[in-house]
Subunit: 228 residues, 2 copies
DNA sequence: CGCGGCATTGACTCATTTCAAAGGTGGTGG
DNA sequence: CCACCACCTTTGAAATGAGTCAATGCCGCG
C-alpha cells in the first residue's frame, strides 16, 4: 500500500480526459464574488496549494478534478478529500494549510478567492457569511462520508461504498460512474493497496455487482450487493 | 468487529467518573450566546440528538464526553466524532442530523443553541457569523484528523495515533492520557474489533511504547514508537 | 517504437476478524 | 450485606482477508 511512485510527478502520463463539468453553469455560492476571484488553469499533477503554506485563499473547483492529501513519513499518501466541480476547498482551522491540493486532470480550473478580502466583505455582508458557513458544512459532510467509507470492513465493501458515493456526487446518472481518478488514487483515498483496489473491482464484477466498460467506466448493476 | 450489544443501552453499567473538565472556565466562542442556550445534563448512554431528526440545535459540550455515530445495517457502529468539553457539534449540511450523538459519561452537560435564532442573530452580528464559521472549521479538523488515524496501516498504529491525538486534545499533559471511552468505543471509532484494540494496547505496552495504570490511564513512554 | 504511468494477476506471508471462553468491576435488588 | 447481572477487558485458536513482492500486459505520448 503506497502512493504510486509517479503519482507525485506529472509528465508523460496518459491524459485522462475528464467528463464534462458536473454543474457547469449552475449558479453557486460565492457567485457574487467571482469578480474577486482569480481563475487558474492547472495541468495534471500541478500543485494548487501546499501543506504548511500560509492559507491565503479559499478555492472553488470549476472544472476537472483535484485531490487533497497528506504524504506520510512511510511514503504512503492519504487523500482526505476528492474535489469535483462545484466543491470548495482550502479551508484551514489555523493560519496554514493542513493539506496539499493537486490537480488530477489537465484543464482543471480553480477559482481562487482571497481569504482576507472575503472575510472583510463578510463582516458587512451577513448573507455571504452564511454562505461561507454552508460551504464549510459541505466540506464537513464530504469528509464524514469518506470516514464512513473507510470504516467499512472489507476492501470490496470500501470500493463499493466509494462507487456509490461517487455516483451520488457525480451527475452521470445513478447507475453510471466514470471514475475521475486512477486506481492508485482510489487506493490512497481508501487507505488500501492498489492491488486490493484492482482485485476488489474484479471481485465486484464477478459477483455481478458492477460492469466495467474500459478502465474508467463503471455501471452499477446491483446496488445492494455493493454496500451490503 | 461490532458495537458491544449493550453499548446501545445505558443502565447498570459501571459508571466511569470523568476527569475534570478540560477547559472548565475558559471563555469560548458563542459565550455571548449562553443566555440563549439551554443547558442539559445527561446520563451515560442518553441520546442528545438522533439521526434523521430535524436539526434544530447546535451544541457545545460543557463537561463529560459524548460520541457522534451512525449504526450500520450489519449492527456495527461507526463513531464519526469524539466530543470533549469545549467541542461544538450538531452541524448538518441539510435540515436533518446525519448522525446521532450520545453521552458517554454521567453528568455530561451540553449547551443547546437554537439554530434558527443563532442564525438570525448572525445576520446582524458579523463577528458571531465568523465564530460560527470557525467552529465549523474546528469540526472539519477533528474529522480530518480521525480520517488520518483510520488511514494508518496496522491496528497498533491506529491505536497509537489515536492515543497521540487524544493526548493533544486532552489537557492531561503530553505524556498522560486518561481514556474517556471504553475499548468498545475505541473499536467503533477506529473501525476495528474490540479484541484488536485490546491486543494492540498490550502489544504497545510490551514494546515499551506505553504504560498502563489501570484500564483507563495510559502513559506515553515512547512517542516515536507510537506513530512510527 | 520505446518509455512511463497504469492495471491486473499470482503466490506467499502476516495481520485481523471471528468465535469462544474466562476473569474483573461496579451497580442494583433481594 | 451479599449476590447477581450487565458491562468491560483480556486471551486463545482457527479462518479469512489484505499487504507485499513479483511479473506481465496495456495504452498514450513523445
Amino acid at each position: 500500500m503506497s502512493a504510486y511512485p509517479g503519482s507525485v510527478s506529472s509528465q508523460h502520463a496518459p491524459h485522462y480526459v475528464p467528463r464534462s463539468t458536473v454543474h457547469p453553469q449552475r449558479p453557486h455560492r460565492f457567485e457574487s464574488l467571482d469578480s474577486h476571484a482569480v481563475m487558474t488553469r492547472c495541468r495534471r499533477g500541478q500543485t494548487i496549494c501546499s501543506e504548511g503554506r500560509s492559507a491565503e485563499n479559499w478555492y472553488r473547483l470549476k472544472s476537472g478534478t483535484a485531490k487533497e492529501y497528506v504524504d506520510r513519513a512511510d511514503g504512503r499518501r492519504q487523500i482526505v478529500d476528492l474535489l469535483l466541480p462545484g466543491n470548495f476547498f482550502g479551508f484551514a482551522a489555523g493560519e496554514e494549510y493542513d493539506f496539499a491540493v493537486e490537480a488530477v486532470t489537465d484543464n482543471t480550473v480553480v477559482a481562487c478567492y482571497p481569504r482576507r478580502r472575503i472575510e472583510m466583505l463578510a463582516e458587512t455582508d451577513p448573507q455571504l457569511a452564511g454562505e461561507i458557513t454552508a460551504v464549510a458544512f459541505e466540506g464537513l459532510s464530504r469528509v464524514q462520508a469518506q470516514l464512513l467509507i473507510l470504516g467499512r470492513v472489507t476492501a470490496p465493501k470500501k470500493v463499493g461504498a466509494f462507487l456509490i458515493e461517487l455516483a451520488r456526487r457525480l451527475s452521470d446518472g445513478p447507475e453510471r460512474v466514470v471514475l475521475p481518478i486512477s486506481r492508485y488514487d482510489i487506493a490512497d483515498y481508501l487507505a488500501i493497496s492498489v492491488e486490493t483496489v484492482s482485485r476488489s473491482l474484479t471481485d465486484l464484477k464477478h459477483r455481478g455487482a458492477i460492469a466495467l466498460s474500459g478502465k474508467r467506466c463503471v455501471k452499477i448493476v446491483d446496488r445492494d450487493a455493493l454496500d451490503g
